[in-house]
Symmetry: C2
Amino acid sequence: MSAIDPLVQANREFAQSFAGGLPGTPARKIAVVTCMDCRIDPVRALGVSVGDANVIRNAGGLIVEDTLRSLAISQRKLGTTAIMVIQHTRCGLSTYDDAEFRAELEAETGVAPPWGPSPFGAQEDNVRTAVEQLRTSALLPYTDDVRGFVFDVDTGLLTEVTQ
Amino acid sequence: MSAIDPLVQANREFAQSFAGGLPGTPARKIAVVTCMDCRIDPVRALGVSVGDANVIRNAGGLIVEDTLRSLAISQRKLGTTAIMVIQHTRCGLSTYDDAEFRAELEAETGVAPPWGPSPFGAQEDNVRTAVEQLRTSALLPYTDDVRGFVFDVDTGLLTEVTQ
């Protein structure tokens, strides 16, 4: 049995009370960039609703080329004007060394990882760097309302790092 | 006033009933790849809970290099063994031409987009391509339970494209 079957079954129940008809342009004009971590439920943690915000997630909540692609589309095609960057405590990326992981991957698979190095330092520094990358990006028309946070996976609280 | 302030305020209320202490290894051993679209709330739509699944999101729910980086970390460091790829109806990416968007970006900013082209065709074809990319990736140790779906943003229902 596939681990996915129970989720497909649960979706049928979910759909019974689903209200569709919303536009793809986020009502709150916000894009959220955060980590793929299983302990983060951005919609609930930020008190938003379906239809309110674009949500971009990757390992670490990093600003990589593809994050910029998504944000450029979010701002230029879907009308968002603000960005929240949310990294978090006890992140998986802080539990191992990026260079070692890359070497291990290449040794095991014979394939060099096609993505670039993503060294991961102290959380607050990572968030400051990410916010700076966005505020100075020529590809984004709206960079005034870009703010960075750390989400505590044990208390559920956001702490702002940079305003 | 920043558009982000109400979300920070809502987070304080959210945290009052937040139960922490969960590990970063997803309980259901599933990674979900989906679009950043504001109408998708993967946790609710799949009936999962906080702690259950890694969630990776970008514009379109595409399999790009960074998606592989996130999935490699999810499988190799966080113990997931199954992948759901979920794209959706009425996706923003189907409303404009990728090549034109790239040209427009470069003309307006003087900067060529650093990401590669991401042409977007019929939804079912995109999903099939994405699943195939994952099933044949040398970087992922678990490729048996990779399944692709289209989420209908009007009915809330998943339709499986490939099993």
